[in-house]
């Protein structure tokens, strides 16, 4: 393949010789590695495309509502019923041609089925926020303390056991965690607190903490280990004890990393579907009470997408929720990535 003699005797022997195989290899690899980028663009385009009828309504339906037969299958979507059902399934009326206006979308009621569908995203948003904050509240302190233990205090042998074990939690399928919350946690908590509703935001938030813990743990642990050795050496040399060094030197140095861990945990919990779908009761109520059922943005998509008519307004609203989830998690990840990384770099370079 390679003609050596020619290469050496030619004038520009140090110049790269053009080889078809090399050229092809490089450009094929380059082209293929664009898949991820194209994937992101496609996800962005197609999730937003399906949501576009709401964002840019093309034509207003001229058919009066009265003439459209809207069936509710004898079920009035009242709040009471939604709460008692463990899994709220929607019944769809064909031929809805309603337009989801801005007022409708920001309303306080989520009743996508009925004669006058209401697409208020507020209760869903509150639900997501409630479950996510609870997950962070339960999960983050435990995860951060566990990270401190395994990064700073634990003997090497124990650390080698703890780290993979906790990271094993990350490989738990979320549907199994959701199932665990649904059948076991919910019963335990109801016996413990005597709550009215078996499935509620508290159960969901607690189960979600199990999904958040491995993320917060791993990133916190990494950033604690990444603090330069001379930080702790200097502190120890000045007479500080082991835990003083850990708490007043290493921990502050790793704050941006811990902040990133919290953000990423938040992003994960905000978009997680199966756990909340199974464990939160799925009733769109906007209240602050943690023991009432909630319905999150992601669970709404999961529960209702299978039952909507392709292309109608309800379908588009669900895609709009998907776009919202996309944007929120995207922003959170971007902040965690850029802001925190820049801060960490600055800190460790001593600028």
């Amino acid at each position: 393949m390679i003609d050596k003699s020619k290469n050496i005797t030619s004038k520009n022997s140090l110049d790269k010789k053009f080889r078809v195989s090399e050229f092809l290899a490089e450009y094929i690899i380059k082209a293929v590695s664009f898949t991820s980028f194209i994937g992101i663009i496609l996800i962005f385009l197609f999730v937003f495309r399906e949501a576009s009828p709401i964002l840019f309504p093309k034509e207003k339906s001229s058919t009066p509502k009265e003439f459209l037969q809207s069936e509710t299958y004898g079920e009035e979507p009242s709040l009471e019923e939604n709460i008692t059902q463990e899994n709220y399934s929607s019944f769809l009326s064909d031929g809805e041609k309603d337009v989801a206006s801005f007022e409708n979308l920001t309303g306080k009621d989520w009743q996508p089925v009925g004669e006058k569908p209401k697409y208020g995203l507020l209760p869903l948003f509150i639900g997501s926020l409630k479950v996510t904050l609870m997950a962070i509240l339960f999960g983050a302190p435990i995860a951060i303390f566990a990270a401190i233990y395994s990064a700073l205090f634990a003997p090497k042998k124990i650390r080698e056991f703890i780290k993979p074990t906790i990271e094993l939690l990350a490989s738990f399928p979320s549907v199994v965690v959701g199932f665990f919350a649904l059948v076991t946690l919910a019963t335990i908590f109801q016996d413990l607190f005597g709550t009215t509703y078996r499935l509620n935001a508290f159960v969901g938030g607690f189960a979600m903490a199990l999904a958040v813990i491995p993320i917060v743990y791993t990133i916190t642990e990494d950033s604690l280990v990444a603090v330069p050795k001379y930080y702790s050496e200097a502190s120890l040399a000045l007479g500080a004890t082991n835990w003083q060094t850990a708490f007043f030197v290493i921990l502050p140095a790793a704050t941006p990393g811990i902040f990133a861990a919290l953000l990423l945990g938040f992003g994960r919990a905000f978009g997680e579907t199966m756990i909340v779908l199974m464990a939160t009761g799925n009733a769109p109520i906007s209240s602050i009470n943690p023991f009432e059922p909630v319905r999150t943005l992601s669970a709404t998509i999961g529960a209702e997408m299978a039952e909507v008519v392709f292309g109608d307004m309800h379908y588009s609203v669900l895609f709009l929720i998907g776009s919202l989830l996309f944007i929120v998690t995207f922003l959170i990840n971007a902040v965690a990535e850029f802001y925190v990384r820049a801060k960490l770099m600055k800190k460790f370079r001593g600028e």
Binding site: S33, L42, F172, N242, F330
Partner: protein, 299 residues
Amino acid sequence: MNNKYLGKSIVIFSFVATIMIVVSIVYMVSEMYLNGKDYLTWEFLTEAPTKGMTAGGIFPAIVGTVLLVILMSIACVPLGTITAIYLNEYSNKKSIITKMIRFAVNTLAGIPSIVFGLFGLGFFIQFVGSGMDNVFSEPGQIQWGQPNILWASMTMAFLTIPIVIVSVEETLKSVPDELRAGSLALGATKWQTIKKIVIPNSISGILTGAILAIGRGAGEVAPILFTGAAYFLPYTPTQLTDQFMNLGYHIYVMATQSTDVEATKGIQYATAFILLACTFFLSFIAIIIRYRFRKKINI
């Protein structure tokens, strides 16, 4: 001397936090096992559900899950490996293209899985599938433009590409530069070096990536909720246009939509335990491969 106790209590508290996590893991696994162990028989693994899904086994769900992850790996392992090779071997770290790809991979890793499901529905089924129907199928016949195992696995592949990339890149980085320099100095071209030196030395990373991706793909349910998973099918999928049953989805529907939730509790626990055992087994293998690889590198 207060300080001394404070220090001790902090250490103890952090230890307790660690123990709490470990205990909750053990508790979850044992809960699944103890409640489902009566159902964990050979027949349970090899039989289809019977009596309106209140008895029988989970064989179709296992087959569906296996087929799903096979199809998914066919797409995501080569794509992820090639991307990692580009990022680590060819790309100029500061070029815009590299930054774009890196940004895309990071973003892809952070998108909620349900959004992938929406993407699969909007892109693969509604756009690609319907387009294929317009071209290939007879008018009025829907063959590709509906949920099926192909679209579900392609959706899942997009979700798992970042996992493969991260894993492969890690091993590519740890292949010593001396090996590359030696190969180049002997007159090999860049592609020859990558083909003969770099890839063989990072097989373990590719394997780990594939295993981690499979573990993730087997456990995720949200992306396949409306791209191909079926509640119950009397047959196992034989064509790309078939729907399929899936272990995770099976747990979900059995626990929330079954005709008799209480009667099937045992089946649910057993199914959850099997899914858990599979993902644990996979991540265990990944950990071992990684561990042995690190040992090899250190020597």
